[in-house]
């Protein structure tokens, strides 16, 4: 896991720069698929800060997409006279802030739950948020809410949002990397492995879990704000989606749970499979997603990175049989 420390962020930025060329060479469809890939990867990494690093697999992170998006939309519509750039900044601040407040409030009680109890309680949190958002007229969840257009008139919104997602995704990735190699990250890892032992070794587990939860929620919320702008109009159903809740787990599972790059690989792969390969299938993709999930759990619980690691170990064993 330990390579030259500066290499990873350089790699991330370089990869982002290469991807940024996408809209110049790819047909618009692939730019939109790219949007979804980068957005999903960002969400997957944000999720993994809590779910992969600390082992608290949330089944309700769509709550933060929704809360971020609606908070931003409600406030932006009050200040629609602002310039688009300022409006986005305002939306991000409000959306991120709302998620920070919500997650901080929820964190203390809910992080006392472990394992699947935590997962399901988060699903409950997501549904409570969705229902409140939908049923309290003030939040306009069932009527839907408009988002002012952001893209400059000269730019195709598809390209614009691709770059916006890419910038956001890169930042999320860099934040995740910083956490991964920090003392905080090591602490989260030890929490995932054995929380009681971690605490005994002096890891401030409660504080770390809460911090990871809030960071994860805020990053998810920020991506949700951008997502809502890309759609232009959202109802509760657009953002509080149970398939998002599921996909966030599948991304990590597919790429490699608890790794830094696994969620990204998983998100890229799954979006590519569902949008490009299965996109032309009519009514088959629920089945395909389900099958993929079953095969993953039974056949490759370590995900793509797990399989790769398995190969390496076996090859090493084959080349050094004398030991």
């Amino acid at each position: 896991m330990k390579r030259s420390p500066a290499l990873v962020p350089l790699l991330i930025v370089a990869a982002a720069l290469v991807l940024a060329l996408g809209p110049f060479v790819l047909p618009p469809f692939y730019v939109r698929v790219g949007q979804l890939m980068v957005y999903s990867a960002g969400l997957a990494v944000a999720w993994a800060i809590l779910g992969g690093f600390a082992g608290y697999a949330s089944f309700g992170h769509a709550a933060f997409i929704g809360v971020g998006a609606f908070a931003a939309g409600l406030v932006e519509n009050q200040f629609s006279a602002l310039a688009p750039g300022l409006l986005l900044a305002l939306g991000l601040a409000v959306g991120g802030g709302a998620c920070a407040v919500l997650s901080a409030a929820v964190a203390y009680p809910i992080l006392r739950l472990r394992g699947t109890f935590f997962s399901i309680a988060m699903l409950g949190v997501c549904h409570v948020c969705a229902e409140v958002n939908n049923n309290v007229d003030f939040f306009q969840g069932s009527m839907g809410i408009n988002f002012p257009p952001l893209a400059p008139a000269s730019m195709d919104p598809a390209d614009f949002f691709f770059w916006l997602y890419l910038a956001a995704g890169t930042i999320v990735m860099l934040i995740a990397w910083l956490i991964w190699r920090s003392r905080f990250g090591a602490g989260l890892l030890s929490i995932r492995e054995d929380e009681d032992t971690a605490r005994m070794l002096g890891v401030p587990t409660e504080r770390y879990k809460r911090l990871a939860f809030v960071i994860s929620a805020v990053l998810t919320g920020l991506l949700g704000v951008i997502y809502a702008h890309a759609l232009g109009y959202i109802t509760t159903d657009s953002v509080y989606r149970d398939d998002t809740n599921l996909n966030l787990i599948v991304f990590s599972l597919l790429g490699g749970m608890g790794t830094l790059f696994g969620p990204v690989i998983g998100a890229f792969l799954l979006v590519f499979i569902t949008q490009v390969i299965l996109g032309r299938l009519l009514d088959f993709h629920l089945f395909a997603t389900g099958l993929l999930l079953v095969l993953l759990v039974l056949g490759a619980p370590g995900g793509v990175l797990g399989v790769v690691r398995g190969w390496r170990v076996r090859r090493r064993a084959a080349t050094a049989p004398a030991e």
Binding site: R199, M200, L201
Partner: protein
Amino acid sequence: MSAAPILQVDGLSKSFRGLRAISEVSFAIEAGSITSIIGPNGAGKSTLFNLITGYLAPTAGDVRFRDRRITGMATNRIAELGVARAFQIARPFRDLSVFENVRIGALFGKAGSRDVEATTRRGMELAAIAHLADQPANTLTVGQLRHLEVARAIATRADLLLADEPCAGLNPTETAAMIEVLRRIRASGVTIVLVEHDMPSVMEVSDRLLVLDAGAMIADGPPHEVAGDPRVIAAYLGSPDD
């Protein structure tokens, strides 16, 4: 060995639903010593450790570490003060390598500045597992896991190590190696409190024995004296032909 005690336990009691697991236990541990707590199964040794490390809150009594009251403090705060514990049933971070396991101890543990890499190396060397650094923890043998447990605890730069039966289930060679490790750790300035069953190793390594029976302390003194104490023989060593 006349400095202020590093650990002082005063009138410590713990009841589970009215059942007394520990009653009125008091003792003090000198800095730099190796003390063993012995007693028959169910005497309350592990409960005592759990009380000291903050896993359980006592019903009554006080625990002071370096003259600071740590009773009821969160486990991680106690660890930050410099108390570490090695479990009897090793609880490694299974998916991490030996190095990464020990590094967690070095990253956290006692408050204050440190050189993480050096501390990690030192912990592994003291526990004689430096050669296993890159192995995943889930490939180690039981004996190696015990060493890892101790290395990780030492890497916290603790001043007091509470080791729960480090020699249980080990063969004579492994036991000897473990005793050597404990000696080296003590030599590096760490105070050790052991819970141990293996009498020969206890007699060999300890400066002092504390004997618990049914939650109460029944003997305290140098190994040879205690071993001859009739109450201890009755309670713990059993009948002569055992």
